[in-house]
């Protein structure tokens, strides 16, 4: 098996691993999981798909757009918003070797297995801090939408801090 084939296979493994990665609890501007899946699907030679399973083609700038870049004088770098988002969405071409991609897999699975969380067993002293034992629980409840803050509890936090 050639080394590029090995890299592609490893990248597929990495994509599978990333698909098991915990999803963001709340919506952020960018999602680590989605960005990295897109990145490694490219390396694996898989087509990128959107939420509905349709493949997304990476669009190259058309001749008109290139002309427009050259002629434009206003706007940041002479670019318009549309073009800027295109640049932002552009993926960098990366060269992986067998070694480096396997390192990526190892590092990612270390993170996903909570290796350091388990190794450095910090204990309830910090997970349930004495000054505010419910702090993290309330935070997680609010993020997960399990238990909403009522006006009363919210005001209590504002006034007394906990």
């Amino acid at each position: 098996m050639s080394s590029s084939q090995v890299v592609r296979d490893s990248a597929k493994k990495l994509v599978n691993l990333l698909e098991k990665y915990p999803k963001d609890r709340i919506h952020h501007l960018v999602s680590f999981r989605d960005v990295q899946i897109a990145r490694f699907r490219r390396v694996a030679g898989l087509p990128n798909v959107d939420d509905k399973g349709k493949s997304i083609k990476e669009k190259k700038p058309s001749l008109d757009e290139i002309k427009s870049i050259i002629n434009r004088t206003s706007g940041p770098l002479g670019l318009n918003k549309e073009m800027l988002t295109k640049i932002q969405n552009k993926m960098v071409d990366e060269k992986f070797t067998e070694e480096s991609i396997n390192e990526q897999i190892r590092a990612l699975s270390t993170i996903m297995n909570n290796k350091f969380r388990n190794y450095y067993d910090i204990g309830d002293k910090l997970y349930k801090p004495a000054g505010n034992p419910q702090y993290y629980q309330r935070l997680i409840n609010a993020v997960d939408g399990k238990k909403k803050e009522s006006l009363f509890t919210a005001m209590r936090t504002v006034l007394f801090g906990k």
Binding site: P22, F32, A107, L126, N132
Partner: protein, 335 residues
């Protein structure tokens, strides 16, 4: 308050002394927590980050504004009372002690300023501090060279916030009244310092623009603290995502090994903090473990020894009639 300044001037130099980068001794009262030998060195966050073979070049278009040294370089400590060389005149010191004794001042509350606002802010600030024309410190090398972060002011802010959050986690475990005060002092100082640096070092001329930056940094701080808290309370995956979004600015071609290294770095700091008692932490007996050092876990026996040592030390201090009122504290040393 004068007597408080005495604390800063008299005590802190011991911690602030420059020490060689590789520690052979522990911070936790000279026990062997961070024994540095060649075998364990394989595992420090720094070496982990260096071990990566992925030669990724992050797109770095933002580095248009390197941080310049101000003409009169802003010291880490602004006031003369914070300087390690300053010594309070004896009569002022005595007067201060008298005031504390006469009015029964709560020293734990008073101490928040010099410890959290000055010393803890200083160590957070130092971690990522860099100037265009100066060589990087050892810790800064880890962030800017090993992790390939851009050398900008806002990146410095993100590094500082990460360290402040690590301290926040410990401060929450203090009695609420005091921990909250420590957090407040740390944040207050952060923003007053940033404001100064924006004018002096980043050469922002307009107050309005500086205000906009400050508001922006405030939003970033809230977002980062929330994200790290969420990660800390759930799992490493979420914590790594928070690090990626904040510290790495959502870099697309992130090296996972770097991410792993930072997660390791965070947990090793938190581990040390979790083994410190309230009294030690509140009197400023903590400093960050350099990224080149691996934090070894304590065995139960070592942990007991450490606790016994701490208890013996502070019991003796509390009993000693010669202990000055400004050195007394009601915070627990047994936890």
């Amino acid at each position: 308050m004068m007597s408080v300044n005495r604390f800063t001037s008299g005590r802190l130099p011991v911690f602030l002394r420059k020490s060689p980068f590789y520690y052979s001794r522990a911070y936790l009262h000279q026990t062997c927590v961070f024994k540095q030998n060649k075998e364990t060195a394989q595992d420090s966050p720094e070496l982990l980050a260096k071990s990566s073979h992925l030669n990724s070049k992050p797109l770095d278009v933002s580095n248009k504004a390197p941080v310049k040294t101000a003409q009169n370089k802003i010291p880490l400590a602004h006031s003369k009372y914070e300087s390690s060389k300053y010594e309070l005149p004896k009569w002022k010191e005595a007067l201060g002690e008298l005031v504390i004794r006469a009015f029964h001042l709560d020293m734990d509350r008073v101490r928040a300023g010099p410890v959290a606002g000055s010393y803890y802010y200083k160590i957070c600030k130092e971690q990522g501090l860099q100037y265009e024309d100066e060589p990087l410190s050892e810790t800064a090398k880890y962030f800017y060279e090993d992790l390939k972060l851009p050398r900008t002011f806002s990146q410095w802010f993100q590094i500082t916030v990460l360290h402040e959050w690590i301290l926040f986690v410990r401060m929450r475990a203090m009695p609420f009244k005091y921990g909250r005060n420590y957090q407040q002092k740390l944040v207050d100082r952060t923003f007053s310092d940033i404001e100064l640096r924006l004018f002096e070092e980043m050469k922002v001329n307009s107050g309005r623009i500086a205000d906009q930056y400050l508001k922006d940094f405030n939003t970033q701080l809230r977002g980062a603290i929330f994200a790290y808290d969420e990660g800390f309370a759930t799992d490493d995956g979420t914590l790594a995502t928070a690090v990626w979004r904040n510290l790495f600015g959502g870099r697309k071609n992130i090296d996972m090994v770097h991410l792993e290294s930072v997660v390791r770095y965070i947990y090793s700091q938190l581990y040390v903090l979790s083994r410190l008692s309230d009294r030690e932490f509140a009197t400023g007996k903590f400093k960050f473990v350099p990224p080149g050092v691996k934090v070894e876990k304590l065995t139960p026996k070592q942990e007991e020894e450490l606790k016994a040592k701490t208890i013996a030390k502070y019991e003796a201090l509390d009993k000693d009639p010669k202990t000055l009122p400004s050195e007394r504290s009601r915070l627990s040393y047994t936890n």
